[in-house]
């Protein structure tokens, strides 16, 4: 009689219920994967003021044609050489007098760019270029800027540019944020990201 008075609740199906919920959450959710290359588009075409003429030597032409082939200054190039070529161009510092660049470690070739602040990379793609290739090229050009900025940040502040940005975005950073902000601006102005994208060409390059 005593056994009947205290019945035990069967907890065996608890596992089934929990499994059901677990499977529902496994299927219906995705782990967040939102990473990407951030860029800023130019304003609408009618708001752009015509800027001063750019010297041919300050322009670095990168073209990707409809067959996903990469051309730099009209010459074919493989993707793995693009970053080095872009760095050589940006870091050249061939200018003299007012346009000279003291921090540039490039070849100082008078036929290449005068100053990083003048150097413009022009990226042209065909309408038939695949997005994958375009991203790869963008990535390499952004990497070139990142490497140069890292070098300058290391030289001036003993810290890589990426780390400086991480610190800036970190709410728990203990250092002086205002100071860090001006330092980041400073590095940015040494190597400003001047990446121009023309309208894609319809005809073959």
């Amino acid at each position: 009689m005593a056994r009947r008075l205290a019945p035990e609740v069967n907890a065996g199906s608890m596992a089934d219920i929990a499994f059901l919920l677990l499977i529902f959450f496994l299927v219906s959710t995705t782990i967040q994967t939102d990473y990407g290359i951030s860029r800023r588009l130019p304003p609408p075409p009618d708001e752009i003021q015509p800027s001063a003429l750019v010297k041919e030597k300050n322009l670095f032409r990168v073209e990707v044609n409809q067959l996903n082939e990469l051309f730099v200054e009209k010459k074919p190039m493989s993707l793995k050489d693009l970053k080095a070529a872009a760095i050589a161009f940006l870091d050249n510092g061939g200018g003299i007098g007012k346009e000279s660049c003291e921090y540039c470690k490039g070849a100082h070739n008078p036929k290449s760019s005068d100053n990083p602040s003048k150097a413009i990379i022009s990226l042209v793609n065909s309408r038939e270029t695949s997005y994958e290739t375009y991203i790869a090229v963008q990535n390499e050009l952004v990497a070139a800027y990142a490497e140069l900025r890292d070098r300058e940040a290391q030289r001036l502040y003993g810290m890589s540019f990426g780390l400086m940005k991480d610190h800036f975005n970190d709410p728990n950073y203990s250092g002086n944020k205002e100071n860090l902000k001006t330092q980041i601006e400073e590095i940015r102005s040494l190597f400003p990201e001047k990446l121009s994208e023309a309208e894609p060409v319809t005809a073959s390059l």
């Binding site: 929990a18 677990l22 959710t29 995705t30 782990i31 290359i37 309408r127 038939e128 790869a136 894609p200």
Partner: protein, 159 residues
């Protein structure tokens, strides 16, 4: 005999499954916390390209998503040409501007200048479509964009 019987009983103990729910609940809570509900149901193929110069897109509420790619296998009747997906529907180029303006309006006023558009474009898409999307975004003055990618070596892209 009694010794034999005792031995047999001892060799077959009942494994208690009482702690199984606890283990499963632990897993359940982990997945509940670590995962984010997918906001839009994908109706286009969306295999992102890889890149390594990437920045994290945090602040989920400050991102507008635009998807593009070939219609996925369930929507073969739409054709095989790459299409744009806004919310849960296929869209045309001219729908982008109203969509973006609507999205901007729906966000709190103080966040509006910081909104980013995340372009989730399938890697096999042609740049023509992407260029057209970018042109529409420029006209809508939604200038901050992010080419959403997976992280990895870029050389994997060119094969």
């Amino acid at each position: 005999m009694s010794i034999f019987k005792k031995k047999e009983k001892g060799s077959m103990p009942v494994i208690s499954t009482a702690s199984l729910p606890d283990i499963v609940f632990m897993l359940l809570f982990f997945f509940m916390v670590a995962t984010v509900m997918r906001k839009d149901t994908l109706i286009v193929k969306n295999e992102l390209p890889v890149a390594d110069q990437i920045e994290k897109l945090d602040r989920k509420n400050m991102v507008i998503h635009i998807y593009a790619g070939k219609p996925s296998s369930r929507y073969k009747n739409v054709g095989t040409e790459a299409r744009i997906q806004l919310n849960d529907k296929f869209a045309n180029l001219k729908d982008i501007q109203p969509f973006v303006l609507e999205e901007i309006k729906s966000k709190p006023k103080e966040l509006q200048p910081y909104l980013t558009t995340s372009l989730k474009v399938d890697k096999d898409t042609k740049m023509g479509l992407v260029g057209d999307i970018k042109k529409e975004l420029r006209t809508a003055r939604m200038l901050k964009i992010n080419y959403t990618t997976r992280s990895g070596e870029v050389t994997n892209n060119l094969q």
